[in-house]
């Protein structure tokens, strides 16, 4: 791997961890606060090629598994990966691959492509895996698990829109970002 890609992985990993401690945005009509870390996952998937992005997210999860408090709320430790909410994090691992697969045949520099790829790969896939895992590890049925994760969809879509907007403007200013 090139040195620049490695450096980008390192610093984006630092941003990912840093976003875990950014203050969540609480909004009256949404029952749950919007936390920023999975937006970091979306940014990593958008800014890095598929394999380095997957490795970066894998490193985040590896550090969390070691017990470091690098997930939102200072969570960490192997138990997080056995608990009912682990499915969302496994979804994060698949986000770069899903995003690349969805956008492979579409126009690369269009914001619509990015929005579509990240909605399917970053939001819906993660929520789907989260619900499936939640159903498998608790007494909930898949349908009720799916209904319970719907509460996160509006916040995630807002984060998706913000991520795509940020990256679109970044690539407009720094064309080198497109040479993945």
């Amino acid at each position: 791997m090139q040195t620049k890609t490695l450096t980008r992985m390192g610093l984006l990993l630092a941003v990912l961890i840093g976003l875990a401690f950014a203050p969540p945005i609480t909004i009256g009509f949404l029952g749950v606060p919007i936390v920023l870390q999975n937006m970091g996952v979306m940014l990593v998937a958008l800014l890095l090629p598929t394999r380095p992005a997957t490795i970066t997210i894998g490193l985040l999860l590896a550090l969390a598994a070691l017990g470091l408090p690098v997930l939102t709320g200072g969570r960490g430790g192997i138990a997080v990966f056995m608990g009912p909410t682990a499915g969302f994090m496994y979804g994060w691992l698949l986000t770069p691959l899903a995003y690349a697969g969805i956008t492979h045949y579409l126009k690369q520099d269009s914001w619509v492509t990015k929005a579509l790829g990240m909605t399917l790969g970053g939001v819906l896939l993660t929520e789907l895996l989260g619900a499936a895992w939640l159903a498998a590890t608790t007494n909930m049925t898949f349908v009720s698990a799916l209904l319970s994760v719907l509460i996160y969809i509006p916040g995630d879509l807002l984060k998706m829109a913000l991520s795509v907007l940020v990256v679109q403007q970044l690539t407009a200013v720094m064309p080198a970002l497109n040479s993945k």
């Binding site: 490695l6 992985m9 390192g10 610093l11 941003v15 470091l68």
Partner: protein, 274 residues
């Protein structure tokens, strides 16, 4: 400067352990403490964890913000466990001692005992994680990972990340304050759209500064011939010494005790209601 966390050089025996030792120790203890619900065992490990934390000489102001955040989320987590499964403890321990009758939300000793166990796990793992983060030099940690057969390129990425977490935190706060000084409202008073726009105004420069630094760092690394060899030597590398081996043996003993208690208790749970 109240950064959330970062390496703080001092000369204690915990600082002198290698990163590999601390990593394996915390991984091992995390697993056994998370798996066990024997309150006596978890309390004993918690006591050891707190003693070690004191020996690391970590100052409160270094970690107060991260501890507050962890506490808030831990409390929310415990409340959610109660809201979604208020009788889970009754099922686990096979008895029901009601403290307060309230229909679905009846409060029982069993549920409170179960959630006490969950809370104790936080109190074990958080000090150990903070010890690891604050007493481990990122450069030495990269060397340790390489010793454990992680590619030196990947382990160097991890070292870069750990080294720059405080910088990212500082940048975030600096940019946030600058944008608020320019009139972007981020608090509860603002409407949703304004707050999202404000968050975008923070993320954009945060990523720009990170990407700028990426260019500078990667050029500097290449000018110093990083990545040209299959292997490399490490300035910060150090061998495992007697204290490292003693710590690893201690961790093995703790794990074995935990496993023996599984057998003694007839499962992972210590049941005081039997």
């Amino acid at each position: 400067m109240n950064s959330l966390f970062g390496y703080d050089p001092k000369d204690t025996w915990l600082h002198r352990l290698t990163g590999a030792t601390k990593m394996l120790a915390f991984l091992g203890i995390s697993v056994i403490v998370m798996a066990s619900y024997d309150t006596r065992f978890v309390c004993a490990v918690m006591l050891a964890s707190i003693i070690l934390f004191a020996q690391a000489k970590i100052r409160w102001h270094q970690i107060s913000l991260v501890v507050k955040i962890i506490t808030i989320f831990a409390v929310v987590n415990l409340l959610l466990v109660f809201v979604f499964s208020p009788q889970y403890g009754v099922g686990l321990y096979g008895s029901k001692h009601v403290l307060l009758n309230a229909g679905y939300f009846t409060i029982t000793q069993e549920q409170l005992f179960y959630e006490l166990n969950l809370a104790l796990k936080y109190i074990v793992t958080v000090p150990l994680a903070l010890i690891f983060l604050i007493t481990t030099n990122p450069s030495e940690f990269a060397a340790s990972l390489n010793k454990l057969h992680v590619s030196y390129r990947i382990s160097y990425s991890v070292a870069l990340a750990l080294r720059y977490i405080p910088d990212v935190q500082a940048n975030f706060r600096q940019i946030s304050l600058a944008q608020q000084a320019r009139g972007y409202e981020l608090s509860r008073k603002a409407k949703l759209f304004q707050r999202l726009k404000g968050m975008g105004q923070i993320l954009m420069p945060l990523i720009f500064t990170s990407l700028d630094r990426i260019d500078q760092i990667s050029q500097a690394m290449e000018l110093r011939r990083f990545g040209t060899g299959k292997r490399r030597t490490w300035y910060m590398d150090q061998p495992l010494r007697t204290p490292d081996w003693l710590v690893l043996v201690g961790v093995v003993v703790i794990i074995l005790v935990g496993l023996v208690l599984f057998k003694v208790n007839g499962g992972r749970f210590y049941n005081p209601f039997r």
